[in-house]
């Protein structure tokens, strides 16, 4: 059996000082009541918060200074990201750009794309969405049918994307499209493009989720033009790029801290003298959290070293999102609560409601639990 690599590193001094800076920044945000921490998370959109985070230097931290970054390590970014999550910071406006679109452009984008886009991401002014899933291409990403065809003026995109979070707020989508034959592996002929949503030929329609929120969308492209230098990497290299990108998407602390605020409220509600059952159940959740922090941190270090820890990332997401699904279930067993979104003044009931209504997405978004376990099994030599 392959050994998955999880060598938990220590945070270097640079990461610790960024951690302290982020903690102070977030304490001010909360003290000034700039966002309701018990109701918000990384998947809450707040353009104002992202601008403030950008101004404070917390976006694109690892990128070159020439493109607006600060050339810090992935471990420093890890520390800051974890602080944001723990504080329930409404980071979704910049989250995708910072986590995966920006790094993708940095690694494979044209010089113009880097110069135009990255500094704006760093300032917290430029938001991205991910154009991977399609109506008939969900877990089976290789079944993508959106087509990009080469014309004299650039690439013309036709097709549709679905479950596109943020599309209605985003300035750009990175669109995965078919540019050639799939081949026997089914992974050939796919290419990623940066689609500027201010251009004509794109129609964005809302899909409301069961919590009543408008987070994701269906996006239609009709002869939508993408200039040559907004193609990401080589034509046909899309699959490898997406695979690597998913390691960033799956391994971060956002895969186990989405409902950290509910855990805080649970501990606060239980109080300083828990009964044995409360202590055992809360203790158990915390032991899981300690493991996940270590696993995620070690993947951050592997990414720093330029490795592709796809399997380790899948493990973080599988273990992490299962933990996230458990938090509300444990919380309501320990403290009697009737969850309600609009029971003003009852922070615990509101936090529980918010999480219960959103929890189904935890083990779906970014790759379902079952797909991830299939990947892990392949890594174990079972497939």
């Amino acid at each position: 059996m392959n050994r998955f690599k999880f060598d938990t590193p220590r945070l270097p001094p640079e990461a610790l000082s960024e951690q302290a800076r982020a903690r102070a920044f977030l304490a001010d945000e909360i003290a000034d009541q700039r966002y309701p921490a018990h109701l918000t998370s990384w998947s809450s959109f707040d353009a104002g918060f992202s601008r403030r985070a950008g101004a404070a230097g917390f976006i694109g931290m690892t990128w070159p200074k020439a493109y607006g970054g600060r050339e810090l390590s992935s471990l420093a970014r890890f520390a800051v990201t974890a602080e944001m999550l723990a504080a329930g910071a409404p980071s979704f406006a910049h989250w995708i750009a910072d986590r995966q679109s920006g790094p993708q452009i940095l690694a494979h984008g044209s010089e113009r794309a880097k110069r135009d886009i990255l500094p704006r991401i760093c300032r917290g002014e430029c938001f991205f969405g991910i154009g991977m899933s399609e109506p008939n291409s969900g877990s089976d990403l290789a079944a993508v049918r959106t087509k990009a065809t080469r014309h004299d003026d650039g690439w013309h995109i036709n097709g549709s994307k679905i479950w596109t979070s943020n599309a209605h707020h985003a300035h750009y989508l990175i669109v995965l499209a078919r540019t050639g034959e799939a081949g026997d592996s089914r992974h050939g002929g796919l290419t990623q493009f940066i689609a500027d949503l201010a251009q004509p030929g794109v129609d964005i329609r809302p899909i409301y989720n069961l919590a009543g929120a408008h987070e994701f969308n269906e996006v239609f492209f009709d002869d939508f033009l993408v200039p040559d230098d907004m193609m990401v990497g080589e034509a046909g290299s899309g699959w490898d790029m997406v695979t690597r990108e998913l390691a960033f998407e799956r391994s971060g602390p956002d895969r186990f801290l989405s409902d950290y605020r509910l855990l805080i409220e649970l501990i606060e509600r239980v109080g300083t003298e828990p009964d044995a059952r409360q202590a055992v159940e809360i203790g158990r959740l915390v032991t899981h959290l300690i493991s996940l922090l270590g696993m995620s941190l070690s993947v951050a270090e592997l990414l720093d070293r330029g490795e592709s820890p796809n399997l380790e990332a899948a493990l973080v997401k599988d273990v992490g999102t299962n933990f996230e699904r458990e938090v509300p279930e444990v919380a309501r067993r320990l403290v009697a609560v009737e969850p309600s979104m609009d029971r003003e003044g009852d922070i615990f009931a509101q936090a529980a409601a918010q999480i219960i209504l959103n929890a189904p997405s935890f083990t779906l978004r970014g790759g379902t639990r079952e797909i991830l376990r299939g990947m892990i099994a392949r890594g174990m030599g079972l497939r």
Partner: protein, 362 residues
């Protein structure tokens, strides 16, 4: 600094490679089976002693290897992986504790006590040395150990380590689910001469439970890895419906879950080892034992399910790992007890104090 870290990593790698080879050669299914029926053979223990491994944690000035506890975790995991049927882990800890407390080395297999939350040993001075009271139960390998390092508390609040001779009379000798001997002793009235009693070194919160629990957590990581390897191999070989059962998604999903439990347990152990010298060492050791203990049950269940009836036989070696998992998860405190320790610590600090505690990876 960097050179020093690299060289201590190198030493760890060398020790672990040596241990792997030694265990692979020595620990056969036949030996494992015989050690459950009769005392573990002295000749094999002599080979382990010759390797120097029992002195892994003892400082170099006392003739040991001087590994840190963090580095020794890997060796404990290897001992778990190979299901070493000797008190190697207990001996490593006992030797290190006694060297630290008394500045000398011990010989022979040794153990530590108390090994559960309920036993208490008290100690008071008397004309011939020290008088003990209380009892120790389920001392791992107690009846085959030459010495047991016992944590004892005086009425004054001072803590002591007592080097209890293993030849004293054990009231009960039993075994755990893997046939590893466990022994009880009534200590009330036993007089120990002064040269076998030392003030306990600082940092022994919860007596020896913390260090014993963390060692068992590492051992469980090793035994879980072994059980999963057995299952992966078996799933690739066993054919049903015209193909290896590894090709069935139901099998793949179960084993992926097991891999997640293993990775999570290992991460918790690594963190606990890294926190050994911080004020939160008890908290993180508790978390490691609880997390690995919870994982052990699930991993054993999954690996048996994959093996079908074959894994339920004596003939297949899976049970050497899984029976240990079922015992080790309850030794030095079960997961619920350690979860409670973690939970009470967290609640006492309040919800907002949790994050600074968890995020201080420094």
């Amino acid at each position: 600094m960097i050179d020093e870290a690299a060289s201590s990593d190198d030493v760890t790698t060398i020790i672990n490679d040596q241990a792997s080879r030694l265990f692979r050669d020595l620990i056969t299914p036949k030996l494992l089976a015989s050690c459950e029926r009769e005392p573990s053979p002295a000749g094999v223990w002599a080979s382990i002693e010759e390797s120097g491994l029992p002195l892994a944690l003892v400082e170099e000035q006392y003739g040991g290897i001087g590994l840190s506890l963090a580095a020794t975790g890997g060796l404990f995991a290897l001992a778990g992986y190979h299901t070493v049927p000797f008190p190697l882990v207990e001996t490593i800890i006992a030797h290190a504790l006694w060297a630290k407390a008394a500045g000398g080395t011990l010989n022979g297999p040794a153990s530590i006590a108390p090994a559960n939350f309920s036993d208490r040993v008290s100690i008071e001075t008397c004309s011939d040395g020290y008088r003990l009271a209380g009892g120790i139960r389920s001392v791992p390998w107690g009846s085959q150990a030459e010495n047991i390092v016992v944590f004892a508390q005086a009425g004054s609040g001072d803590d002591f380590l007592v080097l209890l001779p293993g030849f004293l009379t054990w009231s009960t000798i039993s075994s755990n689910l893997a046939g590893e001997p466990r022994a009880d002793m009534v200590l009330s009235g036993i007089i120990i001469p002064g040269d076998r009693v030392r003030p306990a070194p600082p940092g022994l919160d919860q007596g020896l439970m913390r260090i014993g629990a963390l060692a068992r957590a590492f051992q469980m990581v090793g035994a879980m890895r072994r059980a999963i390897e057995h299952a992966v191999q078996y799933a690739g070989e066993r054919q049903q419906f015209g193909r290896p059962i590894a090709k069935f998604q139901a099998i793949q999903q179960m084993l992926a879950e097991a891999a997640g439990h293993l990775a999570a347990s290992e991460a918790a152990c690594t963190r606990a080892a890294a926190e050994m010298e911080t004020p939160d060492h008890l908290f993180f050791a508790a978390a490691a034992k609880a997390r690995a203990g919870e994982a052990a049950g699930r991993v054993a269940e999954i690996c048996h399910q994959v093996h079908g009836a074959m894994g339920f036989t004596q003939e297949h070696p899976l049970h050497f790992a899984t029976r240990r998992l079922w015992s080790w998860r309850d030794e030095f405190g079960g997961e619920a007890q350690w979860q409670e320790v973690v939970g009470r610590t967290v609640c006492a600090g309040g919800g907002h104090a949790l994050w600074p505690r968890l995020s201080a990876h420094s």
